[in-house]
Symmetry: D3
Subunit: 238 residues, 6 copies
């Protein structure tokens, strides 16, 4: 099984180290887009580069592609364009968190991303399981470069999700926080979902089960796949 | 009041004709993007050109901007970037339809856009009022060029929305179908929302009421507006 | 365009001053009902007088009628009786607030009206966007006569809606608080919806778009419009 | 236990015959209002007369009052005015139907009342259990006077609720259909709720359990009970 | 009317004292299962003994059976096996609480049972009316043996449900707390539902109205009642 | 990684053949319970035997246990008793189906199991993604022994889920239908989830990601783990 990660090399190496036996993980960073993703403006600028990586992955025989940004930008378009599974970290993490408890919280970087994450929970149909979203008030860059200051805040935020908001599990709501997950989980005593790792393992699950995203859900764009030849009879209700 | 329409000239002229006294409408088509929008791939390609128009509008003293595509692509990013209202046709039409009946249906072009429209209804919070979405099985281009064949199908689809799905009102779910609205409304006997016209009138309503989109909902991206200077105390729950 | 306001003269003058060019606003207060509306008992006593104003408005060539009480009492009956739009302040304000942010709060007078307002949010289908309702603990009369004491409380309540409840926008939940809206909005930095003004502008929007309330949603009462002549075939499911 | 029925004598006698041992039922018809209730206009005209009966009932030592119209008009106002339970047929029937199956349907008279009944299901919080509403297309009067023609249609409608809509139980959605309930239940093989009878029995249940409607939910109107003496501290969130 | 209570003698006597005239209540405790029920493990061990009591009740001419554990374990299986109503305390109490206010809270013993009770509220379709669940942090046994210490805590918990969570009514969320209900209700000023008593009165209501649980909802198991003889035509949608 | 399957040998061998490299799967059938599970009565009888297998699995060093019945009976109790993940087929299949499309349908055996499966979808929080449940009207035994007659019906049912109900993916709603999944998927052109296989792969995903079910969600029963030593301060709201 060959899996492509649409992000930087060092995360690709981390994924390879944590992959199941027999699974090869390769990384390929998008050639365009912003350095970090902290707004909807950033998200849309990020999409074209990732679309190229996804198409390249399918063309080069990969079995699945993992996207890297926790806002899951553009995954619907990517799934329209390829047949292999395209795994997105927020969608995967939320469903896995929903499977291991009655409710979960997300801990993330900035207030900016709270409303977009709530929207994702709604779209993915797991809104009733989302206990809360808490933010650390730090940039994505600080997550990476100032762990000493940021990590204790993350632990405290997780504790409040559990005690005050009733969360059974926590999702690290930013790709860069993936590397905090294991340590925090041991400290706070509930499962903490690492979006990077769980995307890989969920990709293995889908490929290993012979599953991919439904073309009913993500149809080939008509400009590429063609238009229906005849009128439908006035259109069935959806 | 000066309103900018992010679409083609001829629609701008139509809007000017239907504007309130004292309102000037100007059109400015995006300089990039696909000719028609019929998939999520098309939607994302459409965004950058419209962002440019929206920023240009604010810089040139317009009071509001109207986007043209019924999928409402990128409106969250646009609202992050400007302070004037950015009106989107699906969002506006759905709320107006929700105001004039207990439930509404959307009649649109292709099966491809059904799921994205359902998602929008969910995000806009009016999902419980959406009776159904029916499709005509035609391309956006045919709406414009083959009205003879398409129009009767649209009438039939609207009738089925009313009789079978219980719709109190209908939304024309494609910018190009705006021009069918008045005629169909007279034929089927329920209000039919013209997304183009209602976007203009809703823009007038917001500007006239001194309202615009909340910066809490659409905050300035931190790369532009700056990062918070200090940590929040472990993050309030949202 | 001629619009009738079913309330006192001085508010009619305020509306005329804030109307679009070419719009005439006239006021006609109900001839019966309680002086202020602070309970469901008050609401039902208020209805017959407003019904008379609405019917008078249609008979005298008005294009739309605006009701005045924020509890929206009796609007379904009024819409059954006329063909012109009957705009209600809570319904209109909630939909407009839902359009300009992801969530909104209502600030209102007394605890008594909290549950009825929650019910309205549920009926109007915008419940998922209602962040909170906060009350000032004052009578409707005090809003009008003791602004010095009431206004600072209103500002504080709005601030808590924003900071603690996550509201992106605020609705002034009482007709008499309409006159606080502009000032508070400037003070708290989010859009504050003035129900009186937004009802007028929404009426202009509907009339200008050729829309009115659906007769499917608000059918003519059979005692007036007649009964169906034949049995339905066992009744379709709704 | 003494129970007052706010409707005609002959129904009062029916209720007395079906009451538990030791329960006295008396009828007192409202002195004003329309002869039958088939629209929201009718509903509001019906309220003042019933309010008088409810107040009379409390003043004359009754333990509970039953209202008669299946649209449950004005019950919130009535509960504001008295301390004894005021039982409404739709509310009671829907909760009882929800207790005996996973879903229920309502069979009623005219299309007019479908939307109002859907609203009630939403307000009462049992919307997720409502499978469908089916109408017979007959006036309330025909229910009473043309049973030969109406009854077979009612059976057919109930069958379709069960077979096509998945209803586990049926509610007779009109006071006048109460007298069909037993016979239809035997014919279609699922429980059929008689709103008249079940209101009586639910009143006995509440009184016998020492329960009544919460004054938190239905507070005494401030014009009667007095206004709060002091400001609340900026208003708690609800 | 003869009603069987599937629990200990002394509660049976309490029920007999509080039954309507003409109603006989008998108790029959399950012959197996744990002494108290404080986890899902306990719940499943409790079921077989209660099933035996329910079947014995039907075989011996009882008109209804009341189960005793507030977690309502196994009621779906019991209803599959008999035709008489099987009343469960949580289901009954939640629907009755939903009838007498806009929202209710549950006060119960241990954190363990909070999530299972939330699930029940969801399954019974009254989730939107559940304001909160508060726990006392005591074992079921302490409820019975240490009322002096437990009772004041229960009052305080109820007060917080009312003041902080907005509950209009309270449900005693444990069979053993039934005996606190009346006293607490007088102290806190909102209706407090006694699950034991209300189950009895609801059983009287159902039997007196000629109603029982729908066999559509709780069909006879095919191993007992037989399998369908023929294939359905590819299966209707449910 | 060692995984235990709580079901028959031959399915254990199937799972071993489809496991990832390095994963050992062992089967251990419950020593008690009914031969097939087709009602809630069957489900509760099935639980004690599976609990024994689950506890045996943890005691013997397995990393996860898979249960076999698609009704997911007793999983909450099992998770209370062990620390390793206990994977249930319906819960896992529904979340995986929700990940690969916007909506999914379940195709299953008998009408009896439809309502219980709907309840599971509600409890698992994926109800908004469930398009429909269709039944074949056959016993579990026929699935295994009469594939010739049953398989074409299953294909037809899947087609109707896709065409009429709008399903993007299908879940085989019975353990015995797992072996139809691959073939049907190829025939109907949407992903068809094999609950047996996907449970295995999801177990690998959880174990490989260092995750298990939250003890907050499934706490150790107090009779085993001990009671809280002190009162909580009047109980936090949940």
């Amino acid at each position: 099984m060959k899996i492509l990660y649409a992000g930087p090399e060092e995360r690709g190496r981390y994924l390879q180290e944590h992959a199941s036996p027999g699974v090869t993980v390769q990384a390929r960073a998008p050639q365009s887009g912003p350095s970090t993703i902290e707004s909807m403006v950033d998200e849309y600028e990020h999409i074209p580069g990732v679309i190229d990586v996804v198409k390249w992955g399918e063309a080069n025989g990969y079995d699945a592609v993992l996207t890297s940004c926790f806002g899951d930008p553009g995954i619907d378009a990517m799934r329209e364009l390829v047949k292999i599974p395209v795994l997105a970290p927020a969608e995967t993490s939320m469903h896995v968190a929903a499977m291991i408890g009655h409710s979960f919280s997300i801990v993330t970087v900035l207030d900016n991303v709270v409303r977009p994450l709530k929207k994702l929970a709604k779209l993915y149909g797991v809104e009733s399981k989302l206990a809360s979203i808490r933010v650390l008030g730090v940039s994505v860059m600080m997550i990476r470069t100032e762990k000493d200051r940021v990590y204790p805040k993350a632990v405290e935020a997780c504790r409040r999700c559990i005690e005050e908001d009733g969360a059974d599990a926590i999702v690290m709501g930013c790709g860069s926080m993936s590397f905090y997950a294991k340590e925090i989980g041991e400290e706070v005593g509930v499962p903490v979902v690492n979006p990077l790792l769980v995307s890989l393992r969920a990709a293995e699950m889908l490929v290993g089960s012979g599953l991919t995203h439904s073309k009913r859900a993500y149809p080939v764009p008509p400009k590429i796949g063609g238009y229906p030849v005849a009128f439908e009879a006035a259109g069935g209700a959806r």
